[in-house]
Amino acid sequence: MGLIEKFLHTLAAPAWGVHPNDHKRPAADAPLRILPLPKRLYIPLQQHVGQPGRPIVMVGKKVLQGQLIAEPQGKISAPIHASTSGTIVAIGEITAPHPSGLPFTAISLEPDGEERAVALHIPDDPFSLDPEELTRLVAAAGVVGLGGATFPSAVKLALGKRSAITTLIVNGGECEPYLSCDDRVMRDFAAAVIDGVRIMMHSMGAREALVGIEDNKPEAIAAMRRAAAPFAEIKLRPVPARYPMGSDRQLIQTLTGKEVPSDCRAADVGVIVNNVSTANAVHRAIRLGEPLIKRIVTINGGAVWQPGNILAPIGTLATDLLAFAGLKSEPARLLMGGPMMGAVLPHANVPIVKGTAGILAFNEDEIVTHPEGACIRCGNCTRACPIGLLPLEMAANIRAGNLGDAEGMGLSDCITCGCCAYICPSHIPLVQYFTHAKGELSAQSRTRLRNEATKRLAAERSERLERETKEKAIAAAKRKAERAAQKAAEAAAAATETAAEKTASSTTEASA
């Protein structure tokens, strides 16, 4: 970038955020490669926000590609399909793609290599279908938000329909450094993405769609512009490359000027955000009848021999992908997702899930290990924060144990984007402070709720006991009174009887 361009870029960029070196090329320019079928796939039951899927296949069963193997449970959930045809060999625990390395349940599938797909119903013209019917088809295909949030797409579409949204924002920001899977989708499948956007607009009743793409992806912008040209309601909006432009609130603000109120969803201001890869998945689900069983994953990082994007079935182990791309050196750190918000992988024997945008293998030079220094109050974090928080003050409060004060400063609004920790000259792990405090606060509120519930139950119990004693006493008194009354009545009756007898006898006597 030339000096003048750099200066113009500085002028156009929003005041928030950071501009890290994006490291997207050469991986983004390498043509898309297709991974040969791995020996075994591990398809997790929890790949989305909400309830995990419930397996409906038995070990030993032969399944076809795209066949339902786990059905959704509860309102917010998504079905899971077989990524290819083969045999179910196990249903058991495997390491989750999470720094903890804790296990979670996955269905192991041994591919037979034939890739026989189930025959699926494909509607002739999706635009003549009822929006509800389209939403149902998207739900059945197990499509979830592929930008990383993995929120079930059908739930979002239904929400859009309910809240009478006007604008669908298509997120092609991909602001995380190193990642380029969305870039690749837009370059290679622009027409499919635009078709997916139109289907989503139809099922939500949106009048217009704004496609926001960061201006560091000129090829994607050109391809998408060509594909969107016939449709006046789909507008392409290049946005300045600035992290975290791909965060929904920031993109909404940049494209529409609207601010999502902090206690509301985007739908409440008439906007829904969906990722370009999600649009592509919706297109494949509706037009090709193909459920979400594969995705494009970026393999990048200094330890990778041939960085690039690879189309891989869901459930592929990170080792298989890394072996395919080749490793130059033993990775010093493995990440799932981008370097700003991604999670460390405990090892490479972890499956990719629907929300996996990339696997990064960093070498020694790429990982930073600066010791934490004292805060010099430079205010860089305050300027970088896209939410307008005061990270330095919140961290100081958390450090001092004043979690309540940190909460009062807007801790709950923090999106843990990592801008503050990225920019900090003292290398303070600010995000770690905030994540810790959020966890601590939610634990506290859970404890509080539990205590309140216990207290309420105890109070109710003592009240009940008191009431019961009182009722018993009343009943006893009543019984006593009754008995007394009965006795009195008996006595009275006996008296009357005797009197009557007496009268009778006297009468008898008299009559006698």
């Binding site: 890290p20 720094p99 903890s100 006007t166 450094p177 609130r249 603000q253 529409t256 000027g257 609207k258 999502v260 109120p261 902090s262 206690d263 509301c264 409440d268 201001v269 008439g270 750190r333 370097p339 700003m340 918000m341 991604g342 999670a343 460390v344 960093f362 790429e366 990982i367 930073v368 600066h370 220094g373 004292a374 805060c375 010099i376 109050r377 430079c378 205010g379 860089n380 305050t382 939410i387 307008g388 928080l389 005061l390 330095l392 003050e393 400063m409 807007g410 609004d413 843990t416 990592g418 920790a421 990225y422 920019i423 900090c424 000259p425 003292s426 290398h427 792990p429 995000v431 994540t435």
Partner: protein, 365 residues
Amino acid sequence: MNTTQLFAPPPTAPHTQSGNSVSRLMLTVVAALLPATLYGFWLYGWPSIFLWLITILFALLGEALCLKLINRQAIPTLLDGSALLTGWLLAISLPPWSPWWVGAVGGLFATMLAKQVFGGLGYNLFNPAMVARVFLLISFPVQMTIWIAPLPITAAAAPGFHEGLLIALNGIPKLDAVSSATLLGFAKTEYSRGIDLMHSLAAASAPANSLLGARAGSLGETAAWLIGAGGLMLLFMRVITWHIPVAMLAGLALPAAIAHSINPAHYLDVSSHLLSGGAMLGAFFIATDYVTSPNTKIGQLIFGAGCGFITYVIRTWGGYPEGVAFAVLLMNAMTPVIDRYIRPRILGRNWRGAPLDPATQKALS
């Protein structure tokens, strides 16, 4: 299995960082000060170089001593450049031919009592260099107000290396021959003698108000244009933002302009105020100190305006001819209050912190 790996928490996001660091920031500020400092050396000769060296050495020594007392490694902290910057700022705010012990006591005071006692870098309430300068001014008023007429190092009458060393160690031999008055000091003294500014400034003996810095004053602060250029460099490199410097200069210039237009015989004009004393140095390098200034834009505007205004008040009606150091310290004391009440607006919330109304946002388009 090695135990460090067992107990170390997994590294968390972000996994990348900007190349910024505290020492880089401090050294950038030092680099921005370098031109003005070198120019000051040229104007005031060898005695000023020795004073500068001694002040910085003792500032570093004070920091090292304190770290030693609390059993911490001195070298990493010294390398962060903050003590160097503190010593440097103090040195260039001193009268250029001050005796060596003024610099030594000031340097020690700055890093020990004004900084390390509070807990070190990031914890001090007041700007260490300014605390030390005010301490010196109050304790040694004579030494701290001996100003030297500029005598370029190349001039024949200028003290050489050896002579300069003697001046720094033993004091100035023929004071009357070299001393001069600062513009602010001169105006104040003359006015108190009953001579108004129209006459006093027109006199031949009046000190010049020079943009080039060829006037009496502190070691590094007379070359207002070089200080300003250094400040612009910091702005361009995004080490500082414009809020504090602009607000401070405006806070000084506005009352000066109003008062001067009402009574030019009593009140100095705007350019004299802006180019004299430590106004430029204060606006770009002293008031912008991260640790002791507010961390929101609006807070910084208030802080800067306060520094400028208090400077003007002290210069015009106070007992001292110059007031930048006092003004900055007074506003330093206000910083926690400003930070408590001035908070940025959180996205999706109003200024009071309540969530925005979705209906009005929905209506926007």
